[in-house]
Subunit: 427 residues, 4 copies
């Protein structure tokens, strides 16, 4: 299925007058605060969020999975799904592949498909947290950190293979989430696990093309429930320091201990020039992988306040970082869920962009805590939806992506095409 531009245009036309009225009001209100709305709309329009290939099907938990229907059956269909999203919101212009779930047998044809949908290939992801059929060594007790050098070798080679696939597709980064760790006190040596992992990462690092980066993700717990080798940003940073300038830290919002101040971590990593980018999602308890912004939208805004600040300091645009959604769609249509997540990201970005930085700095310099809070809340409480809608519209996308998705019965079309019982590879 493909969404045609005329369908988007018709949809937009029907909403245009209302949208323009809201936009006009928003522009005026911001103008009175000396904020130039068009500049912000342009920044929003430039912001692109990658979609992971494994998030296009229904997710599940260890207790089960309730499939939807019309899930993509192949890499091609996954690319098509991302194409649908991007056609609707023009903000999802890249796809992040997961090897071995999505091995591109013929790179060229996949690249043409993607190009035809205006999609690029973002970071490629390796997988050493599961055993694949006929795999020689098992990752039951670890991969890059395993006590047995044969297992480490296999895991290193897998990562190097993933780089090869990525090169063919035009990716520029390898993203490593290492689930290695232990379930019980005593099970493994923290120090040896660190050292083995470092050696393994160094071999992978050596295989990186010159213009590539490696992203080192951290996670406090799960699937290991006592310790994780790369347990927090401090560990990730330590590995990156030892690896070299091509290694940066990847932040997944759900990978922290309860109550962590993630925005401070982000600020620190940017200060050190070591922020690779994000895996966006939201959560209430653990790595719940919920829709972005569905639980703690103010925290998401605060993170973007730091991102905007850090990008300005670094003199980099939003294309200097890797933004991706990493969520699990257990009870929602995956495509609708992703549209909600992208919208939430753009809203937080828009709110962060309208923060009055000068006043904020002044308030901070005077320790005027009341005013500093008010400045942030003023931005957060502003209804910036017209800006986000406009940013999609001027890029050729929809004013109301989910609305059109439903009007066009996209999901039933996909079920007709693919069947009601298809199950996408992934978690």
């Amino acid at each position: 299925m493909k969404i045609e531009q005329y369908q988007i245009d018709q949809h937009n036309d029907s909403l245009l007058s209302r949208h323009q009225k809201q936009l006009r009001y928003t522009n005026e209100q911001l103008g009175e605060q000396d904020i130039h709305a068009q500049g912000i709309i342009n920044e929003l329009a430039a912001f692109q969020v990658a979609i992971p290939s494994w998030a296009l099907g229904t997710g599940g938990t260890r207790f089960g999975r309730f499939s939807g229907g019309g899930e993509p059956r192949s890499l091609e269909e996954k690319v098509e799904d991302v194409g649908l999203l991007h056609a609707l919101n023009r903000s999802s212009g890249s796809i992040s592949l997961h090897i071995p779930w999505d091995i591109p047998e013929q790179a060229n044809s996949i690249i043409s498909l993607a190009t035809s949908l205006d999609l690029k290939f973002d970071a490629v992801n390796s997988n050493t947290f599961q055993d694949q059929k006929n795999q020689e060594q098992s990752y039951k007790f670890g991969s890059l950190s395993h006590v047995d050098p044969k297992v480490r070798k296999q895991a290193v080679e897998h990562n190097i293979e993933v780089i090869r696939y990525g090169k063919d597709l035009g990716s520029k980064a390898l993203s490593i989430w290492l689930s290695d760790g232990s379930c019980f006190p005593g099970q493994s040596s923290f120090v040896k696990s660190f050292q083995y992992t470092l050696e393994s990462l160094q071999e992978i690092y050596a295989a990186l093309p010159d213009d590539w980066k490696v992203f080192v993700e951290y996670k406090a717990y799960e699937p290991n429930f006592y310790s994780t080798v790369i347990q927090d940003w401090g560990s990730s940073l330590l590995f990156c320091q030892k690896l070299g300038p091509k290694a940066d830290v990847l932040v997944d919002l759900g990978h922290h201990l309860p109550n962590a101040n993630i925005e401070q971590i982000v600020a620190t990593l940017m200060m050190e020039g070591r922020l690779a980018g994000f895996h966006f999602n939201d959560s209430k308890y653990g790595d719940d992988d919920l829709t972005v912004g569905s639980i703690r939208p103010y925290m998401l805004f605060l993170i973007f306040v730091e991102l905007v600040d850090g990008m300005k300091r670094a003199g980099k645009g939003s294309d200097g970082y890797a933004w991706m959604i990493d969520a699990s769609h257990n009870v929602k249509d995956p495509l609708e869920d992703l549209l909600q997540s992208v919208e939430a990201i753009l809203l937080a970005y828009a709110q962060a962009l309208i923060v009055d930085r000068k006043k904020l700095e002044q308030a901070r310099n005077e320790n005027d805590v009341v005013l500093a809070q008010q400045i942030l809340q003023n931005a957060f409480r502003t209804d910036v939806r017209p800006l986000v809608r406009e940013s999609m519209r001027i890029n050729g996308g929809c004013i109301d992506p989910i609305g059109l998705f439903r009007n066009l019965n996209v999901r039933s079309e996909l079920m007709n095409e693919r069947g009601k019982l298809t199950v996408a590879t992934g978690l």
Copy 2:
């Protein structure tokens, strides 16, 4: 110091045209969703939040306290401070006293003062978590739950005395926060502590006037760091069930374990007809007692979604519950902080009032999770500040309470009147 109506009027006049433009837009936008803004403004105008007498001075932690200046030196000055707040926002029309910090020596003169400022007396609070000078029995090891009947007797009598003070002032409820518990495993018997507390509460309950309520607060921990006798809503409810219909559960937002779903607790208590009301504040780690809405504004909104629902089900207005702020103003001017808190409460209430309940119910009945989320977020993302400002304005308050507070230099006036080094009683 007193703020005159003409000062408020002048202030409002200067902001009026901008306010009216925003209000008109908001009304229109809501109107298109079939929401009648004026009705909501009226509900907001009727919502009154009590100010606790102990929150008018600078707060502190066990590590220290950095006083501001001009803190109220007497009960009269505390009432005056609340009067200032209420003059500004017309939403803080009552004061909640804490005995023995605020013993009203002459009830009549205090009542006249309060009446002159349009203030009422909300629930009275007892204190058995500190020893007062010359107190016979010590509360070091508990009060209502103490193993020694003499201590329990003293604590019961103190509570009954608090009721007496409250009767004189026109209060209608006794609010009990019992800090009793233990710091170490083994220190006390959970069951005996419960039973002693129950007996003590029953004696207090017996002394309640017919038209009074007793509010039983719970708290997970602090100042006891191993166990607390009334540790959670389940414990509070159990006590209330055993006491009788005049006992209800009081929810303090900061008194839960990490990640608790407080809105569900609120819904359950309202379902059982046992919600007394709230102590509002916000927190990131523990009972941080921060400004309401400063950390988790979406959660505050979700709580109000339940409150609006529950009030409708119960056929009660917002005056059927006890709303109070209970925060600690460590780094902000206490009065400005309270104005920010009241504003945050009214914003959350306003957002909850514009939730499209019919559509929400329909979405729930169809398990349309995407839509259900969108309905809530649509309300939350709407800029309802014009509604809140209007609700204050039509009550005779300010469009921008903090703005006028600063314009009038209220704090320096108070410092002139009271001195720079005054320290209010309280925490």
Copy 3:
């Protein structure tokens, strides 16, 4: 495979002299504190922990599962596995079935098998958290709490069917873990979910045989990540109060929010006469389902301190409650893991039994916190392993169950019998 008594006897003989020396020393040491070791050994010998049928295979997470080998392929083989455990430790004398994973096609033959292994059938467990093949209604959006009465009906009937299976086997209780809840704010109405669940439970309750109980389990989160209908002990208790005297609360150690004081919950439930029993496991982060006692052994001890106290108050023995292990064996041999769990439970029970209750009460009455802590720690620091070993030995079990399990190469025998790639039903 079956373990013969002579094998156990030979094994014990080889360890006997060392064991007896240790036991003699322990008895002496306890004797000096006026504690009669034999009485404690007898209590330990009487303590039986049920093994759930779903914990006999390798467990996994949403990220994958690394099977071991020789996992039971049928209900018969599951019963045999429990028989092996019970032969080794004589403390695992019952099995708890999970329907529909373990439907006993012919009750009689399963009962004979169990009887031949000296096993009974503990509580039966229903499952409405997964869809089974060809199931008419889906539980994707709930079961007993579903907005659609047809789904609720199906879920109620499933529970009643489970009771029927249980009756055939001689079970006396239905254990309900209801995973129903919501993943996103707005998704469902807390109050309606509660009410629907209550109605459903009432229908199930009505179908309970006279001498049966229903156990109502609670869980803070997972697999739903925003709310759970029965989220905490307070909710469970509320349901039980509304249901009647045959409904009790089941505590799973992993089902709480961070830092919860579980021992206090246990004490309160026993005080109310509403403790059904336990699902034992351990955890560091969430419902990690780790080996009992592997993370927080002191907390386990404190829970047993309350259990011993509560049983005495209630005049009931340990057979008056339902004890079960509910863990997930992701990186250990399931049978060895279960042996470690049972051992940890018995050790905690033994430690709790040697607490000097009289002295403790006196210390509490004098608020001698130092001494109260010392009394508990004195018990906890005592090496009670000889008592636990003796309790198994006098029952006909092993002094070192895991030792014999390994000596006899039980796992390789099972792999020979059943194959290396068998996967047991369950999570």
Copy 4:
């Protein structure tokens, strides 16, 4: 008051035969595992834990403080109190001073007093989390990180002054706990706060004598409840890396987010050669500052397992690190509480020393998780109290320090000497 050696000897004599019997048994049992008990006793005897000068009085919370009696009124009396502890357990041979609470007016006389009690001066602690009377600049909004250079200068100079006091006493380290941070989003710039702090620390670092160290402590939250400048070990390490080789990370057990794996942090810091030492305490919820080992003794043991490992790897003895207790004695006699803490530390150390490292490494190399757990638990479940008692005895201390403390009525003696209402400086 002073405890005489003959009093200790008499006390030991009365317990000797029982102690020797237990010791003999323990030695035998360990001997059968090829563990040489005497070596372990010697290691224990060499382990010295510093006592902080601020922990000798009753502690409190923001809600109040319930003083005991006989609290030390001067630095001399604080030294005497530590002398009493050290006389009893011979494991508390140093004192850690807090400036400005304990300014040694005349270093020489304090040194003689300490020497006469066999005490040394451990790390000195600065305080910029409180304002002192007549202090020019306030620390309300920070100290080393303050936006105002005048405040930072004052804080830097205070730290340099603390070094001066320490030099006079023979200390070799400055310990910095920086409470700086923010209470509200927006209040301060994370990056500027970090940079200002770094500059301030560099000035302090420059003033360190050649043979000194500076310890950089971290804390997740409290007294600031939104962010803390040095929030976690990763931040501390980053500061230390930027400062130089004389800066190490200090770990306080209570300064982490819920569920943190502290033992892994310790292992990582030791691997990096950056562990300064410890502030020991225990906690259930936050920085509860409870008696060491009173809540999570198994975690304490696991930390010592890493410490023993790391010391061996580094070729350092226990005197190569700074060990201190940092607890708050709210409901116990401070001296008894400290005796319990020291005992708990030594027990954990003893348990860690008897872990069979060779077998553990082998189990790890074979991924024998069951065995690895068993090896740790075997050590933890062993009753090592006789070893700890013997280590105190051979050093000239008591077999039962708290027992003798009570027999000699130390507290009432102190109350007689000092009065019942004395309150020590400190928190």
